[in-house]
């Protein structure tokens, strides 16, 4: 057994209050491996680390177990401090005695001491078997590919070129701007969409660091964080680029609500997007317009609120009243969603300008009247309990943003997850704007419907995340697993005992495992940069060749064996 020293932190009384640490210190010494125990008041000050390190050296212990706060607490600080003092990471074990013991068992001091003792014994046993993954270091390509040149993509591109990072901006259409090309004005600033996007486009076009690929399509995508290899087809020309990070800003599309409120059958039943087009062309003509909210949203198929339809509806309602004096506007809604102080004041402004709001229930939707063209709308007013008939010559449907149809293909190519509606999933809630693949970030409406303002904010956020990944010249594989308190490394496989069955390849969703033919036999190889250390391959390996060195089978088994000690 390796010599182990155990430190128990009182956490200024937080742990000491519920657990009798002196008694516990005596009890853990019964373990043959434990050569010394030490009770300290705190571990989160720089001098504490020095003190601990000198005690470790004095005792001659090889392994250190620290009973303190949870891995989400100060574990990272303690570990990095001790590694600076020359103690190897795999020899340090962190045991959570505060959140997982002291604070939750205040009413059971006896049970708390037993539990603390068991937890320390588990970690001591596990340390015996804990090993360390070999690291891999790769050179970073300080370039970023941005998919989609809408507001989010343009904002990301501008932030990156300002940081001096080369940007490849890929656009499915012919020109930058995305959905802002289709609308006339943006809320809440009221500036025209062209004005909003122009400074971004101008700066990007002037800067030689940015390359714009119109009419582009990704044909293949390989590699890992720091070095993705992408081939794309832009304007019928093949390009091969290598980038360190990828930002997805591919946006969303608006729903065409065929079949709803007689859309497609009746003239003058249009969507908000068509109204925007009429604003651009200057062909809006109405005496009385009815806006119907939640057309195709917040229902059984699409139970989400797309967040942008209410504000854009308010914007267009005011616009109609400004451009056509005397025109009436009715907004039929299920709830007006205007979160935030800015949008709420926008709503109040709309109210004061005379736009009429009528609430209806999902079960009694409005009915559009008229044979050859719109004559009116009949709606059951849910607040007053009466059916109202509104004369109208224009019905505008507020439809939600829905995911792009290409999302599935893009997600498959980049190995990403989509949520249940088809938007790109981020790692909620711990790592916003990040996806399950390191080095691939998402922003804007590709992630979730957002307004152009928020898309810009998210684009800039994703750009900073990408830039910080590429900041160093090199990336090490171990630095990619950002788990508090545990650096779990990556799966390792022994060349000698791997039989090449391929189970690991079939379960790995990160395409980190692959079979390679060496001397006529297939053996599994793990790409350290892609591996996320989930251990799914470990579970299916028939002969235990595949292992996670930090939490290997023996360490976990030892923890299970020691979990209950002599608990009575």
């Amino acid at each position: 057994m390796a010599k182990t020293i155990i430190f128990l932190c009182r956490c200024f009384g937080e742990i000491g209050a519920a657990i009798d640490l002196d008694h516990l210190g005596e009890r853990v010494k019964e373990d043959g491996a434990v050569v010394a125990t030490s009770i300290v008041d705190s571990l989160c000050l720089p001098e504490d680390i020095k003190n601990v390190a000198s005690l470790i050296r004095e005792s001659g212990a090889e392994k250190v177990v620290i009973g303190g706060c949870s891995p989400f607490g100060r574990a990272d600080f303690v570990i990095s401090g001790l590694t600076r003092e020359g103690i190897e990471r795999e020899n340090i074990g962190i045991v959570d005695l505060r959140e997982a013991c002291s604070w939750i068992h205040r009413d059971d001091p006896q049970g708390a001491v037993t539990k603390a003792w068991n937890l320390l014994a588990m970690e001591t046993g596990a340390l015996e078997h804990r090993k360390r993954s070999e690291d891999a270091v790769i050179k970073v390509r300080p370039e970023v590919m941005i998919i989609g040149a809408g507001p989010a993509g343009l904002a990301a591109a501008r932030s990156l070129i300002r940081l001096g990072i080369r940007v490849h901006l890929i656009e499915r259409g012919g020109s930058p701007g995305g959905m802002l090309n289709l609308i006339s004005h943006v809320y809440p600033s009221g500036e025209s969409a062209g004005e909003k996007i122009a400074p971004y486009v101008e700066e990007i076009e002037k800067n030689t660091l940015a390359v714009f690929y119109p009419k582009a399509k990704i044909t293949s995508f390989k590699g890992f964080a720091g070095d993705f290899k992408v081939t794309l087809n832009a304007n019928e020309k093949e390009h091969y680029i290598r980038v360190g990070a990828v930002i997805i800003a591919s946006g969303a599309r608006t729903l065409l609500p065929y079949g709803l409120y007689r859309y497609g059958n009746l003239k003058n039943v249009i969507t908000q997007m068509e109204l925007e087009r009429q604003f651009i062309k200057g062909t809006v003509n109405t005496r009385s317009a009815v806006f119907i909210q939640c057309a195709g949203a917040r229902n059984h198929d699409r139970p989400y609120c797309a967040t942008i339809c209410c504000p854009s509806s308010l914007k267009n309602a005011m616009r109609v009243m400004e451009e056509l004096p005397g025109a009436k506007v009715f907004v039929l809604h299920r709830d007006i969603m205007t979160p935030g102080s800015v949008m709420e004041s926008y709503y109040r402004k709309t109210l004061s300008q005379g736009v009429q709001f009528i609430r209806f229930e999902e079960s009694t939707p409005p009915v559009v009247l008229g044979e050859d063209q719109v004559r009116g709308v009949e709606v059951y007013d849910a607040i007053n309990g009466v059916t109202r008939k509104i004369d109208a010559d224009l019905v505008v449907l507020s439809t939600p943003l829905v995911p792009n149809e290409e999302n599935r293909k893009l997600a498959d190519m980049l190995n990403l997850q989509l949520d249940r509606y088809g938007f790109f999933s981020e790692i909620y809630p711990l790592h916003p704007l990040e996806t399950r693949i390191d080095g691939v970030f998402i922003c804007g409406s590709a992630r979730w419907p957002v307004s152009s303002d928020q898309a810009i904010v998210q684009g800039e956020g994703a750009a900073i995340k990408a830039a910080s990944l590429l900041a160093g010249k090199e990336i090490s594989a171990l630095s990619l697993s950002r788990v508090p308190g545990v650096k779990t490394g990556h799966a390792t496989v022994s060349k000698d005992s791997c039989t090449g069955c391929g189970n690991c390849v079939s379960v790995c969703t990160f395409e980190a495992c692959r079979l390679q033919k060496i001397d006529g036999n297939y053996i599994s190889r793990v790409n350290k940069m892609r591996c996320k250390a989930c251990g799914n391959c470990v579970a299916v390996c028939p002969n235990g060749t595949m292992q996670l060195p930090e939490i290997n089978y023996r360490a976990t088994g030892e923890m299970i064996r020691r979990a209950f000690g002599d608990m009575q």
């Binding site: 949870s70 891995p71 989400f72 959570d96 505060r98 959140e99 997982a100 604070w103 939750i104 068992h105 205040r106 009413d107 059971d108 049970g111 708390a112 037993t114 539990k115 068991n118 937890l119 588990m122 997850q417 949520d419 249940r420 790692i427 909620y428 809630p429 711990l430 399950r436 788990v483 545990v486 779990t488 379960v507 969703t509 990160f510 996320k532 250390a533 989930c534 251990g535 799914n536 470990v538 579970a539 299916v540 996670l548 939490i551 089978y553 976990t556 088994g557 923890m559 299970i560 064996r561 979990a563 209950f564 608990m567 009575q568």
Partner: protein, 143 residues
């Protein structure tokens, strides 16, 4: 009275975030509960679950992410499959199948996690310790 022993195996993400958050807010939890943290519940195979029973656990609870939340992909599905299969083995061994359960949590479901732990602790307490020591005694068949 002999206390029952409960082992939890927990995924590092949503359930551990819940457990940690519950700990930070000082929610009371059963003190006969021990937790083993792994990166993903998909890393746990049937042998490890059975090992827990071998080493004296009276109940094993797998704490998993929700199916769609798994950041690795197949984790919770592997967990469901493992529970189904190990339960069959437990039946053969004469251990009540209800001694192995799985629960899924979102990242913010700390109340649910604490409730699930208390419920499981209560269930196991009602069942008592695993009584089999060798093949002759069987709680499942006596039932």
């Amino acid at each position: 009275m002999e206390r029952v022993k409960i082992l939890g195996i927990c995924c590092n993400w949503s359930p551990f975030a819940c457990y940690n958050a519950a700990g930070m807010t000082g929610k009371k939890m059963p003190s006969n509960f021990r937790l083993i943290r792994v990166m993903c519940i998909g890393r746990i195979n049937q042998a490890l679950i059975l090992k827990a029973f071998e080493f004296g656990a009276d109940g094993v609870i797998l704490l998993e992410c929700k199916d769609e939340d798994c950041r690795y992909g197949p984790g919770p599905e592997v967990g469901h499959e493992n529970v189904k299969r190990v339960r069959r083995i437990l039946h053969l061994l004469g251990i009540k199948q209800e001694r192995l359960v799985e629960c899924t949590f979102g990242a913010h479901d700390k109340e649910e996690l604490v409730r699930a732990l208390w419920k499981f602790a209560g269930d196991i307490k009602a069942m008592g310790p695993v009584t089999i020591t060798n093949g002759q005694r069987s709680e499942g068949l006596r039932r």
